[in-house]
């Protein structure tokens, strides 16, 4: 009820006032949301309050009177409660304890997480057999020790109680045995018919073992057809390679060698596969701390704001058609053979004056040291152009590496799915086996998958969730999580990892390998045996992965995936001919040595330019068309993670929206169409419509809108159901990423969107600092001179720190707001999820928040990110006001939080100038779900209601390192304590360590002239400091700007 009132009370933003307001200000102007520049009353109120609106009020359905009654009763009972005896606990030891097992100490196991056809190598922490935390494998090429937010959250996915728990037969509980019995009869019939009428639909497969099993399956049933579909697939990348080279190739980029980067709508820092490695390499070329090697320069063209665009030195927001035209203009100016400018528009012409010539000059000056990257969502023509540009710039082999595809059987997946639909219509599909994936939710709307699927006589679905597809299937088979199964997977460079389970399946699920084995008539094989048997065949020399062997059934399925999987393992696992040794080494190290694919140098097709130009001409750009861009949600991807609360609640990097998606449009487009944030509009494309709220997104290209996929699930589980809007409803097979000339009209509805962008504002103070590389080179101390720090006189006595003194430095140049730290912290420190309503009340519990500041014009603002945690002030304002001494200063400078002392006065949070303390207004922690108990970090207290909490600098990790050091009679070494956020950071933006040790990385970082303390004039002496953000704009362009 309350929320409805708020919705109606909330006034619309006054659009015209942004520009006026900004025009009236001088100097650098930072702002966090459009509310702020419009200075709405709500925003003022938010700022004036200590807590965001509603945070400290009792807004829940229980009335005040009831509340008082309850409080009275609980007060009376509290005395009795204190008399309760400690409940009896049991200790259950092993019967036979495994060797080298030390109870109370975590073990780490190497494994890998496959996702969308690419694997990331991991080290997973296990406490007494329970995996509790995911870390990156420092030796793995796709991780280098870091992970992204999604990988961090996969631990919650493992323990998700909504995961499918049992075999279902026509939605009734069944067993694997009953499935095996039922399918045995079918297997006989399939064999008799050579598999005619049998169709398989898989996601992108990059497990060599699974690919081999599929090959065997197709051999058993020669007339069967294998289709593949991945909703956020890379068809454009594949087709672009085919257009350019006449063959499928895998393109990987070496950003650690690229000094100039031109991104054509490529979000290679967050949503593109391989982003973790790319982020590390990219930031390595932008290091301002340590040894500075100069700085790369990133030019980005994009329509929809992405984090890659946000960190770019030069970003141009263009409508999708103009992005293509601009790319062609760059190609033509570079003199790429066969490329001439295609079409023109005012926006591209404007870029042509300075932007494009400067970019071209920069690229040409860095031949072999630059890179052109096209986004997964760009058309194949743009990919072909990017390949040609890289070839023309001599980047192939240096910054651009081509290899054979990492996936087992590359094909155009949209065509593959369409072929399946066509064959259902012609009655050729008798049995459809969906092996992973959720096509009933994700398939293009015009294919009407759900409707056609039900025409199939026998429908079998294997998946981790009892989802939309499972609901329509005769059989649903629960698949195991990757942390529960044996498997294998390849990273983007081809490196093979053996996926080893950390725990036996929590429920009655099986890995995909076993399901395929059942379908192939060998129901008793285990995944462990299957994977080992595959690799045991690897004693011979590696077989070429690309040797195509077209399936005999190919003629009946022109568009289905031909089986291009060669027999025999893709690499040899044996060491000196010893398989067992090689196997154990692969498990221990988390990858098979030397399994990366060798680079190749494909030659450009002569006719690619004509084909690309023809493709470009086929999608003409109408002048005033409204294009809809589909993008994967930065946190939920295609929707498979919808039931993971951590990913729903973490504010999206740029919008800071939680628990929702929206139609993102530029403020100018919104104004032109008479829309305001939170208005509901009806978006239509080809007779399909969907109603979605508007979000005004500064920096978005005009004349188009962005919709994030993955929301609006109906059968994802208790967390993800009915969150946001399902935009697959208007996504068609001809327009997977860009629906040109869509319609959009305002409805009379209004919808409450929740964002954290204005929570805990710090009001125009000197918070974010940035400069340019040129300024820094001219005068290292330019920042100190620009921001004069006042001399601090303190009444408090100085602390002295003899031993360790912990501190943190956060490099603002490196931060890309990818959210990995936020989720890693949540996983490490048992931080609960609170839900949309409570975030709206300002009660989000994340210990790290990443503030996003805009600067300048609302149409093309500069964007800055600043992660904020507890600053561990040496003179902490919170400590002096706590009436019960629940927050105190430690010997090593930690600002310690003692939960068991806290009585919940919240004075500390009131007095905190950084607003980094979080209060458990309600019992947010789920204490009842048994699987969540297994998930939690046993080294961190689980907080209850009424307790303040905040970043502890991962004190549990400090303590464990200190104990080990003290046992050995030494100091803690630099790098021995790594906080969860620092460990996960793909860009190494966070450095943590002992500032008393002058040789430590953090002490060196803090000595940098770029180092500054937030709100230093308050005299809090924070232990966490920031390194000023440096940009590296092209001087030619900067002058004009």
């Amino acid at each position: 009820m309350q929320n409805d009132n708020q919705t109606s009370n909330r006034k619309a933003l006054d659009n015209p006032s942004f520009t006026e307001h900004l025009a009236n200000k001088t100097g650098r102007q930072y702002w966090r949301g459009l509310e702020e520049i419009a200075e709405t009353t709500e925003f003022r109120e938010m700022v004036d309050r200590e807590f965001p609106e509603g945070a400290s009020e009792w807004l829940d359905p229980v009335g005040r009177r009831n509340f008082l009654k309850l409080m009275g009763a609980s007060l009376a009972l509290a005395g009795i409660g204190a008399c309760a005896k400690q409940p009896e606990e049991k200790i259950i030891p092993y019967v036979k304890q495994p060797e080298e097992f030390v109870p109370g100490k975590p073990s780490f196991f190497a494994t890998a997480m496959p996702l969308r056809g690419y694997a990331t190598g991991l080290l997973v922490e296990s406490h007494l057999g329970r995996p509790t935390k995911v870390e990156g494998n420092p030796d793995h090429p796709a991780s280098l020790g870091a992970t992204d937010a999604i990988t961090q959250a996969s631990i919650l996915g493992l323990y998700d109680p909504d995961r499918s728990q049992t075999v279902l037969s026509r939605s009734r509980i069944a067993s694997w045995d009953s499935f095996k019995t039922a399918i045995a009869a079918e297997v006989g019939a399939w064999k008799a018919a050579q598999g005619t009428g049998l169709h398989f639909l898989t996601e992108t497969i990059n497990s060599p073992t699974l690919a081999d099993q599929m090959r065997q399956l197709m051999a058993t049933y020669p007339n069967a057809v294998w289709h593949q579909y991945e909703p956020a697939g890379r068809d454009c990348v594949r087709d672009g390679a085919k257009m350019a080279f006449g063959q499928y190739v895998e393109t990987t980029y070496r950003f650690d060698k690229a000094e100039v980067i031109f991104s054509i709508d490529a979000d290679f820092l967050l949503t593109m596969p391989g982003s973790v490695r790319y982020s590390r390499d990219f930031s390595a070329m932008r290091r301002t701390s340590g040894e500075m090697k100069g700085m790369n320069r990133l030019y980005a063209l994009e329509s929809s704001p992405s984090v890659t665009g946000a960190v770019a030195d030069h970003r141009a927001a263009l409508a999708p058609a103009a992005v293509e035209q601009a790319a062609w203009a760059v190609g033509a100016a570079l003199g790429v053979p066969g490329v001439s400018a295609q079409g023109s528009s005012p926006a591209v012409d404007a870029l042509g004056k300075a932007w494009i010539p400067s970019l071209v000059k920069d690229l040409q000056a860095h031949r072999g040291r630059c890179v052109v990257v096209a986004g997964d969502e760009q058309s194949p023509a743009v990919h072909a152009l990017a390949h040609a540009m890289n070839a023309a710039l001599g980047n192939v082999g240096t910054t651009v590496v081509y290899t054979d595809p990492v996936e087992a059987n590359p094909t155009n997946q949209a065509a593959s799915l369409a072929a399946l639909m066509q064959q259902i219509d012609s009655g050729k599909v008798d049995t459809l086996v969906v092996l992973g994936g959720n096509p009933a939710f994700t398939a293009p709307a015009d294919l009407k998958f759900a409707e056609r699927y039900q025409k199939v006589r026998l429908r079998i679905h294997a998946g981790e969730y009892n989802d939309e597809t499972a609901y329509l299937s005769h059989w649903h088979l629960p698949l195991s999580h990757y942390l529960e199964s044996w498997s294998d997977a390849r990273a983007m460079d081809g490196t093979v990892s053996i996926v080893q389970p950390l725990i036996a399946p929590l429920w009655d699920s099986k890995p995909l390998h076993e399901v395929v084995s059942i379908l192939n008539g060998t129901p008793s094989a285990t995944a462990y045996d299957i994977v080992r048997a595959y690799w045991q065949g690897a004693k011979s020399a590696p077989a070429p992965a690309s040797a195509a062997a077209p399936a005999p059934g190919d003629s009946t399925a022109a568009h289905a995936a031909p089986v291009a999987v060669s027999a025999g393992p893709v690499a040899s696992i044996a060491v000196n001919g010893d398989f067992e040794r090689g196997w154990h080494q692969a498990l221990y190290r988390g990858m098979v040595a030397g399994s990366a694919l060798p680079p190749k140098s494909p030659t450009l097709n002569g006719g690619w330019a004509t084909a690309a130009a023809a493709m470009l001409a086929a999608t003409p750009a109408a002048a005033d068309a409204f294009d809809i861009l589909f993008r994967v949600d930065p946190m939920l991807l295609d929707g498979r993670f919808a039931n993971i609360g951590w990913l729903q609640e973490v504010p999206k990097p740029l919008t800071k929206l939680v628990w929702d998606n929206a139609l993102l449009v530029s403020p100018a487009t919104a104004k032109q169409r008479g829309w305001k944030t939170e208005d509901v509009v009806e978006v239509g494309y080809k007779n399909l419509t969907v109603k979605v709220p508007v979000w005004e997104m500064p920096g978005h290209a005009d004349g188009c809108g962005t919709l994030y996929l993955g929301h609006g699930r109906t059968r994802s589980g208790r967390v993800g159901n009915d969150v946001g809007v399902n935009v697959y409803a208007i996504r068609t097979s001809d327009a997977p990423w860009r629906a040109a000339a869509a319609t959009a009209s305002k409805t009379s509805d209004c919808y409450r969107l929740v964002t954290t962008q204005t929570h805990y504002s710090m009001e125009g103070r000197d918070i974010v600092r940035y400069g340019t590389l040129a300024e820094f080179m001219a005068n290292e101390k330019f920042m100190e001179e620009r921001h004069h720090e006042p001399e601090i006189v303190s009444l408090y006595k100085e602390h002295t720190y003899k031993g360790h003194a912990w501190g943190m430095a956060i490099d603002l140049t490196a931060c890309t707001a990818c959210n990995a730290c936020v989720v890693a912290c949540q996983s490490e420190n048992n931080i609960p999820v609170v839900g949309k309503e409570q975030v709206n009340n300002g009660r989000a519990m994340h210990w790290i928040r990443i503030d996003r500041y805009y600067e300048g014009d609302a149409a093309a603002p500069a964007q800055h990110f600043q992660p904020l945690t507890c600053m561990h002030c040496e003179k902490a304002p919170c400590e002096t006001v706590c009436p019960v001494g629940a927050t105190v200063h430690g010997e090593e400078g930690l600002n310690e939080m003692v939960y068991n002392r806290c009585i919940g006065t919240r004075y500390c949070s009131n007095n905190c100038p950084y607003k980094v303390r979080r209060f458990n207004y309600l019992l947010f922690t789920d204490l009842d779900t048994p699987t969540y108990k297994m998930m939690r970090n046993p080294d961190v207290t689980v907080r209850s209601r009424g307790v303040m909490e905040k970043c502890t600098y991962c004190v549990q990790r400090i303590n464990s390192a200190r104990i080990e050091a003290k046992k050995e009679g030494r100091m803690i070494r630099d790098g021995e304590v790594v906080t969860a956020c620092a460990q996960v950071c793909p860009t190494e933006a966070i450095t943590f360590g002992n500032i008393n040790d002058k040789e430590s990385r953090v002490a060196k970082a803090k000595k940098s002239p770029l180092n500054y303390a937030l709100l230093a004039d308050l005299g809090t002496a924070p232990r966490t400091t920031y390194l000023t953000k440096l940009r590296n704009p092209n001087p030619e362009l900067e002058k004009g700007a």
């Binding site: 008399c83 005896k85 400690q86 009896e88 606990e89 049991k90 200790i91 259950i92 030891p93 092993y94 019967v95 036979k96 304890q97 030390v102 109870p103 109370g104 100490k105 031993g803 105190v888 430690g890 010997e891 090593e892 930690l894 310690e896 003692v898 939960y899 068991n900 002392r901 080294d939 961190v940 207290t941 689980v942 502890t952 004190v955 549990q956 400090i958 303590n959 104990i963 003290k966 046992k967 009679g969």
Partner: protein, 218 residues
Amino acid sequence: MAQLFHRSSNTLSKVSIFAVLFLIAGALAFLYAYHNSDYMTYVDVPREQPVQFTHEHHVAGLGIDCRYCHTSVEKSSFAGIPPTETCMSCHSQIWTNAAILAPIRESFRTGIPVKWTRVHDLPDYVFFNHSIHVAKGIGCESCHGRVDKMPLMWKANTLYMQWCLSCHRDPAKNIRPRDQIVTMGYKPSEDQAVLGPKLVNEYHVNVKQLTNCSICHR
């Protein structure tokens, strides 16, 4: 008009004021006593176990080292409860048919572990680490008492925070040479007032830091 109250009510009211004070003081005293009572703390209360395991016999009688069973006491936060296999390493040879050991044999046969009752149980917001205490010269006896005289295990100390702090504030009174860690009935070779501070110094015990909240609470 006659007086409403008899004169004696003056006394009564005075007495009752004091009575209330005494009542409150009494209630507090009762709560304090209750809180520290064996009933509440389980101090000196032998706990029922699935097997009547006697430390007295194994430690004093047979002279088995603590670390034979509690293997991780020097490595980990948790000292470790022996797996059934450890019991069977002897009891597959001796007392093989003893009725008292039936649950152990049963466990070994079926693979179902024995569920021991926890005797020393700290609240979940306290993080105690055995290995560092052992490494810094705090003997088993200092917290667990004379285990060699306990036929069934009981708590020798309350494990209340004030008890922990009494040592964390002044570890010198309990610290002993590392080679005496598992000794029961340890007598210092010289005056503890001299030896204690010496060992505190020698073992680099940072006494000031021992009372930091985050040492135990995280």
